[in-house]
């Protein structure tokens, strides 16, 4: 099949970008979308032109490295599928495709379709963990976890941190991503101790990164390759409300001194 690509090219963070059109003939429909781009790049190389930079690693939909917008849809037209798992059979011969990077101020563009998602890491660093120093854990079966809870936690934990939710959100909000981690850890008994603190810290970091705010459009859920649901955003909202209501209930921290 033959495809026409209109691709965003941008030399680096500081340069202006623009769309460049490429023709891609002889594309097999068994190729993945990224393999199609590989072929286009090999042909560019032959012409001594700079290949299109795009991120990918696992190419099996789990590492969350890949991602760009195809014809206005993050990760392309197929539901619950990352671009690396998208195959050309999802398109028709003669299709014209516009390919753009994730666009959000919190995800600055590094080059072409590659952007910087370090903001996600900082949100996790702010509280997306359970403090459990190595060596201190009780037996794995000491705390039973209801199957529903562990299954729900797993649903939320399936997030691959790709950033498509931000890319698709009309407000460039990172709420689906953030809420998924809060729901994962908040659903488990192990995660209760830090639950109020966690949501306050992570939301504060999320805001500081310059993401927008959810107004419940639901675009994020529609493009999320891992089927993360908006219900987690609702949970995060209520966790946040509860945490704010109970914040300030702090121990005095008086130390009577136990030395000797």
């Amino acid at each position: 099949m033959k495809i026409t690509l209109r691709v965003w090219r941008q030399k680096d963070a500081k340069s202006e970008g623009r769309f460049v059109t490429y023709e891609a003939p002889d594309i097999s429909e068994d190729m993945s979308f990224l393999e199609m781009l590989d072929v286009v790049n090999e042909r560019l190389l032959e012409k001594n032109e700079e290949p299109i930079a795009f991120d990918s690693d696992c190419r099996e939909g789990i590492c969350g490295t890949c991602g760009f917008v195809i014809n206005g849809r993050a990760h392309g037209p197929r539901a619950r599928t990352t671009v690396c798992q998208l195959h050309m059979r999802s398109f028709k011969d003669g299709d014209a495709l516009t390919i753009e990077p994730w666009r959000a101020d919190a995800f600055p563009i590094i080059k072409d379709l590659v952007c910087d998602r370090a903001a996600f890491d900082r949100i996790i660093a702010a509280g997306g963990f359970i403090t459990a120093p190595i060596g201190s854990a009780p037996d794995g079966n000491a705390i039973p976890v209801p199957k529903t809870s562990s299954d729900l936690a797993m649903d939320a934990a399936a997030c691959i941190g790709c950033g498509a939710c931000v890319a698709a959100c009309p407000n460039a909000a990172a709420m689906l991503f953030t809420s998924a981690k809060i729901a994962h850890l908040g659903e488990l008994p192990q995660g209760q101790a830090e639950r109020p603190d966690r949501v306050l810290r992570m939301v504060a970091q999320m805001d500081a990164e310059g993401f927008g705010t959810c107004t419940n459009h639901g675009e994020c859920e529609a493009v999320c390759p891992k089927g993360i649901r908006m219900e987690f955003i609702a949970r995060m909202n209520s966790d946040y409300l509860k945490a704010t209501a109970t914040a300030g209930r702090r121990p005095t921290g008086l130390d009577e001194g136990g030395a000797g």
């Binding site: 206005g72 709420m175 970091q205 459009h217 219900e231 609702a234 909202n237």
Partner: protein, 222 residues
């Protein structure tokens, strides 16, 4: 960790303000509609005027002012939150996409700001129209029924009301569901209910309110 900007500074805090003021406003719109529906009673004229009378003397006259105060504060907070969230959302994506394909978001959800602003314009006009009588052709203080029927005699005014109500319905179609989500009704089962509720509220408000100018123009209410 960044300095917490406090509840009102945070994204979710402002969303919650939006939702709580939204509840108050929706409550008012529904209550107001119920009050106005009395006009269809067989003794519509007396009922309406008595209702107006009741409102003005409720809690020795203080009740109305209290309600007005709450409404005013709600409107101000709602507009403040809407504006500040809109600004930060705009700032979150300075460079937009060349192409967009929408899947889940709706016309209603993407036009909240516009529908909101138009509803606000409506309310201002409406106050000048029915409460202060400034723009009313034959305003009679205290005779709510007369003001009502006389007010809708003008076709352009009625049309403006009808258009505004369509936008209000649109605002509520997304607003009510959004409110539930914002306040954390997370269970997938509630999601269906929240959707149903937002459609129901929007339709009731639309049909109920639009019926008034139409009824007057059609000569049902005289």
């Amino acid at each position: 960790m960044p300095e917490a900007r406090g509840f009102l500074g945070s994204s979710i805090g402002r969303k919650i303000v939006m939702a709580v003021t939204g509840i108050i406003l929706v409550g008012f719109v529904l209550g107001h509609l119920a009050g106005n529906l009395q006009i269809y009673l067989p003794n519509g004229r007396e009922a309406m005027n008595a209702y107006g009378e009741f409102l003005r003397h409720f809690l020795h006259g203080g009740g109305l002012w209290l309600a007005r105060l709450i409404l005013l504060v709600a409107v101000i907070l709602h507009i403040w939150a809407a504006t500040s969230l809109t600004l930060s959302n705009r700032a979150a994506r300075a460079v937009g996409y060349r192409e967009r394909t929408w899947t889940e978001s709706t016309y209603a959800s993407r036009t909240m700001r516009w529908s909101g602003v138009i509803v606000l314009a409506f309310v201002i006009y409406h106050l000048l129209h029915f409460t202060f009588g400034t723009v009313h052709p034959s305003f009679v203080p205290g005779d709510v029924y007369h003001n009502f029927v006389a007010g809708f005699q003008s076709v352009p005014v009625s049309l403006f009301y009808i258009v505004s109500m369509v936008l209000l319905a649109l605002h509520l179609r997304h607003g009510v569901w959004s409110m539930c989500q914002t306040l954390g009704l997370a269970h997938p089962r509630y999601r269906r209910w929240a959707f149903a509720a937002s459609w129901a509220v929007a339709l009731v408000v639309l049909v109920g309110n639009v019926s008034f100018p139409i009824a007057v123009l059609a000569g049902v209410l005289k």
